[in-house]
Each structure stands twice: as C-alpha cells, then as structure tokens.
C-alpha cells in the first residue's frame, strides 16, 4: 500500500488549463475523494496519477518513488473506470485474471486468487459469463474485482457507481467503504456526487476549474467551508446566499440586506480579522435547515425576515419552503411537525428566522469565507 504525494501538478490541453497547481498528499490507507462539478479536472488528475495522461508540469510520487512520467505498468496502481472498462471478448474469470496473466503467474495461483476475489464480491456464480451478459452492478463488481485481485499500491476509481440506479448505488456505497476499510487500501475516488463523498471519504478534495478549493474532512468542508463555492456546493439543498452590508448602531451590529435586517453578535464579527479590512459589503450564507419558518404574528417572530411564500414541498418528515426575500429566492427546511400549521397559500407573507449562530459571511469579491458560523467555530478549530 502506498502514500501518494502530488506536487504542483499541471495539465494543459492546448490553451485549456484542465488542472492548475494542484497539491495534495494521500496518506497510506486513506480514502480520498476528488469532488467537483463537471469539467473541473477530476478525471484528468486521476489519469495523471494512473499514468494515462502525462502532466504538463509538477510531480507525482507513490511511496516517495517519483512516478511522474512512468508508464502505467510501472506504477502498480489499480483503476476502475466508469464504463467500457471490461474486456468484452473475455469471460468474467479472464477479465479478473488479466492483471495476473500479464504478470505471468502460475495457473493455480491465478485460479485461487480469482476465486477468492469473486467470492468476496459475490460474483463467483458468473465467472463463466461474458461481460455482455451481466447486469450493471455485476459488471462494476467485476471491474472492482480486477482491481482487487493484485496487490496494487493505490486504488483509483473514476465515478465507478454513478451510472447505477439509486438503490444499487446506496448499497455499493456501503460495500465499497467497507471494502476499503477492511483492505486499508489507499484509494482516490472521483465523484461529482457529494453524498458519496460525504458518506465514504476520509478527506475530500474539492476542485473547480482545475484548482483546489478545499482539502479537508467531510465534516470540515461542511461546517467550515473555505469559500462560497464550497459552501454552496456541499449540502443538499444548497446554502442560501444573500448580498448585504455590515452596519453598526452603537454597540449593536446588523446585517442589512435588500428587504431584511438581522442582528448579529458584534464579538463574533470582531473575531474575524478579515472582516475588519472589508468595506462592509458581504455575502451572507445560511443553510436551509438553519432557517426557521413562522407565520406573521406568531410568537418568536421578532427579528425575522419577511418573505413572500413561493412554494411548499412536502417531503414526509420535512417541509421545504421557498420564499422571495427582496428578489432573492431563499430555501428553508423545517421538520414537518413544527410547520404543520403552514400549508398552501402561495403568495402569502411568511417569516424566515435566520439562526444568527449559523451564519457564514463571504467576501463578495473572491468568495473567501470571512466569518464562520459561531455555533460551529465555537466547537473549536482543532477537529
């Protein structure tokens, strides 16, 4: 097993910089996710680690061996592709045995290793079939089996389960995570599905336009996003972001937006050094689950933001409310039993109660996080 160190990695395709100055280290046995929107350079990064694409610059080391420009076969990595990874003219057995045949292993050794892997992945009964006769889930297991059958230093997976149906995907998530833990295999997994990343990863590397946005644990990227992009990318439904200004009245501090004003803790603001240097214009971020919903005149409505109700989505245990706040659509999510009394009446006024301890402030120029939610940062940054 191995540790992967990537330094100043770059890849250009003509004038497109697909990957720009990427640095990260995957520790031995760690489960790393490359997460980001389509076209952000995840696959390109992974292919460079695999040796299928040569970097335009930078260095890749596996267990401190410099492998930057080595051929794939000299790196000893295993890879699962999203599709087309299987050899259609060979049986499932031969597909899994392929890496062993290339290594000229004895017939006996091959048979015992392939059956052990097939056993573990529950595909022992389809070993004689051709890939064309498998279901999508089985085919992907075969591809995974081919990766497991030899002692690869690093496992690479490029969206291995994203084309399976939702139920199968959920099952495979658990299975893959279990497998990874059990084998303690250093794994780099590419995905654009944040649910996969949040549930399976040890650490997530979030990319956008070829650059790293944040590299941290799932909890940290959720609780302490480095910038507005990460904050809105992680979380479903995504974080609400509103333009506003910081104002003060005596000792009190407010966030003044278009059609709303929220009082915030001045001590909290004071703790953010970056905030002092900004000109007062900020972007307020708050997740839908941290917005309470009330009808006008209800108890506890003071200090709430007035909105016009657009839709209510009932999701069983929860209700999702979409409201118009000064021209921006704000989503709120609340437990169904608390908001049972609010139903129907699209277009009626409604109150959104922003939890001031769950607010993030972003720099409107570069999206940097200026102030963390107090409830989270209060827990300490050491986690």
């Amino acid at each position: 097993m191995g540790q992967v160190a990537v330094t100043d990695l770059n890849k250009r395709f003509g004038s497109v910089a697909a990957v720009a100055d990427v640095n990260f280290t995957v520790e031995d046995g760690e489960f790393l996710f490359l997460l980001g929107p389509s076209g952000c350079g995840k696959t390109t990064t992974l292919r460079m680690v695999a040796g299928l694409e040569m970097p335009s610059g930078g260095r890749i080391a596996i267990d401190s061996r410099d492998v930057t420009y080595l051929r794939p076969r000299d790196r000893n990595v295993g890879m699962v592709f999203e599709r087309y990874g299987l050899y259609n003219h060979l049986s499932v057995f031969e597909n899994i045995a392929y890496p062993l045949r290339v290594r000229r292993m004895s017939r006996q050794e091959i048979r015992s290793r392939v059956s052990a892997v097939a056993e573990r992945l529950q595909i022992a009964d389809v070993l004689d079939r051709r890939p064309g006769q498998l279901s999508g889930g089985q085919a992907q297991r075969v591809a995974i089996g081919r990766m497991l059958v030899r002692q690869a230093d690093v496992f690479l997976m490029d969206e291995p389960i994203s084309h399976l149906d939702a139920k199968l995907r959920a099952a495979m998530r658990i299975e893959l995570k279990h497998l990874q833990r059990e084998l303690k295999a250093t794994t780099i997994y590419v995905s654009h599905d944040q649910l996969e990343a949040m549930t399976m990863a040890d650490r997530i590397l979030i990319m956008r336009d070829g650059t790293i946005q944040q590299f941290d644990t799932p909890k940290a990227v959720f609780d302490r996003p480095a910038n507005e992009f990460v904050a809105t990318f992680i979380g479903e439904p995504h974080m609400n972001v509103l333009d506003c200004r910081l104002t003060t009245e005596g000792a009190r501090a407010f966030l003044q937006g278009d059609g709303f004003r929220i009082e915030v803790d001045p001590d909290w603001l004071a703790r953010s050094g970056d905030l002092q240097r900004s000109d007062g214009a900020v972007r307020l971020g708050i997740r839908p689950e941290h917005i309470g919903v009330a009808l006008p005149g209800e108890a506890g409505a003071e200090g709430a933001v007035e909105a016009t109700l657009l839709t209510i989505e009932t999701m069983g245990h929860q209700n999702a409310f979409a409201g118009d706040v000064g021209g921006t659509i704000v989503l709120a999510r609340a437990a169904a039993y608390e908001t049972r009394h609010i139903d129907g009446g699209e277009g009626r006024p409604i109150l959104f109660r922003f939890d001031p301890r769950r607010i993030y402030l972003f720099d409107p120029r570069d999206g940097r996080t200026l102030a963390q939610a107090a409830a989270v940062s209060g827990e300490g940054r050491a986690a």
């Binding site: 299928l52 076969r73 990595v77 890879m79 003219h89």
Partner: protein, 284 residues
C-alpha cells in the same frame, strides 16, 4: 385441436400486409443477375461445336472437354497458383501494415494527421491506366517485371489506402478506455493491442481482408502489363481467350468458371464473418 383459435391480431388492427410485389421484384432481380452466370456455366460444359452454333442450343450433352483443354494445353493451374500467391500475400501484407497505420491514425494526435490520412486516400484516386507507364518503367529499373514479388509489392501498396481507411473507422469505434484498462492492469502497449484490441477487431479485420483478397484476385490492368508467361495471373489469362475473331466460347466459359469458383466458394464460406465485421461499427 378442433377449437377454432381466435386470430392473434386485434380486430381493429390495420389489414394484413400484402407484399407479394416484393417477391416479384426479388425474382426479377435474381433472374437478371443469374442468367449470365448460368449461361457461362452451360457454355463451359459444351463441346466446341455446340458452343459455336448459331442460334445457341439449350439442350446438349454436357462434357468436361473445355476444362480438360484448359488444364492440359493452357497451364490454367499455374495461373491459378500465381493468382493465389499474389492475392493472399498482398492481402496479408496490406492488412498487417494497414492495421498499424490505421491504429496510429485513429488513436494518436500528431501534426498533419488529417493531411496524412487524406494523402493515403489520394493514392487510390488515380485510375490504374494513368500510372501504368511510370510503374512499368519503375518495375523495369528495379527488375521487378515478370515477377510475383513485384506484383505482390504493387498490390500491397494499392490496397493499403483501402485497408487504412476501413480499419481506421473500426478502430475509432473501439473505446480507448478498454486499452487504458489493460495498460493500468500492467500490460505493455503491444500487449494491450494484441490481447484486447485485436480480438475485438477480429471481425472487422476479417471483413477487410476478404474485401482486399477479392480486389487483388480480380485485378486486371496491372497484371496484363507487368506479368509474363510464367507469372501470369488469372484475370489476364482469362481475358486472353477473348482475343481474335475466332473466340472459343466453351474455353472462355470454362476459364470464367475457373476464376470465379474459388473466390465464390471462399466468400460463401466466410459470409457470416464478413457481414458481422462490416456491421460491427454500426451496432452499438
């Protein structure tokens, strides 16, 4: 069963198709296509007198006289052997060479790639008659006239563009990822090509080879000019029976059977691979 079965079609379905006219057309086309062939075979089985008679006789006693004459007096077997050697060798070399060219054109980006591809194709654009003289002189200089080797070289070069263009398309249809899989699994480039790409390409390569074999077997223009008595291939040999005013129809017919039969039997034998290979790129 005695019970009357209900019709399997819904009562409100449109009326049954009536396509008898399809069969009429098929019969007509088959008739037009087959009559000349039947006539050639019949002629080949006539003796000299019957073959020359006007009006033609449909009823006669079949004889193998013409075939016998061809074998004993005209060295037909030598020509057939020459044809076989030349076309099989040319097919082998053009397919093997062309396969690698096609692979490179399909898989790699390099400057001038499209120009190279077009240049290869342009080699097939000149009609043979336009280049016969230069090639004749070329062959003379290099002492290739009247040799099977010369003909093999020429046919290989001639068929190469066809092979490259045909296989290029088929290679492009094979996902690159499958080769990359093999590379990551630890294989070399050539290993991946041999163990993964080639097996997937086998039907297409077979189809292309069959095409090339037929084209080489039937090539006439160059064969006439570049071969001599010992190296003659079948097409010019057969054509030589047409010369002069006194055409021996039964010999000509038998010669036509000679040239057609092997390739016909071959194509019937490999028909399934042929169709499978040609349609491979289309089904996905």
């Amino acid at each position: 069963m005695s019970m009357t079965q209900p019709l399997p079609v819904s009562p409100s379905a449109p009326p049954r198709e009536r396509n008898w006219w399809v069969y009429v057309i098929l019969l007509l086309v088959s008739f037009v296509a087959l009559v000349p062939i039947v006539w050639i075979v019949l002629t080949a089985l006539m003796d000299r007198a019957v073959a020359q008679s006007v009006p033609p006789q449909w009823i006669f006693t079949p004889t193998l006289e013409a075939f016998e004459t061809l074998l004993t007096r005209y060295d037909m077997l030598l020509y057939m052997r020459n044809s076989a050697i030349v076309s099989v060798s040319a097919t082998f070399f053009s397919v093997v060479l062309g396969m690698f060219c096609a692979y490179a054109l399909a898989r790699y980006e390099f400057p001038g790639k499209n120009d190279v591809a077009f240049w290869i194709l342009s080699n097939r654009m000149l009609p043979p008659v336009a280049v016969i003289l230069p090639i004749f002189m070329f062959f003379q200089t290099f002492k290739l006239l009247d040799s099977l080797v010369g003909l093999i070289l020429l046919y290989t070069g001639m068929q190469l563009p066809f092979v490259v263009w045909m296989l290029k398309g088929f290679f492009e249809d094979i996902p690159r990822q499958i080769e990359e899989s093999a590379l990551v699994d630890g294989d070399t480039w050539f290993g991946a090509f041999r163990r993964v790409t080639l097996p997937l390409m086998a039907p297409s390569i077979t189809a292309t080879a069959i095409f090339v074999l037929i084209l080489s077997w039937n090539e006439y223009a160059f064969a006439v000019f570049l071969t001599g008595a010992q190296t003659r291939t079948l097409p010019p040999a057969v054509a030589s029976f047409i010369g002069g005013s006194d055409i021996q129809w039964n010999l000509l017919g038998a010669a036509c059977v000679f040239i057609t039969l092997p390739i016909l039997l071959f194509v019937v034998a490999v028909q399934r691979q042929f169709v499978r290979g040609l349609s491979m790129g289309m089904m996905k």
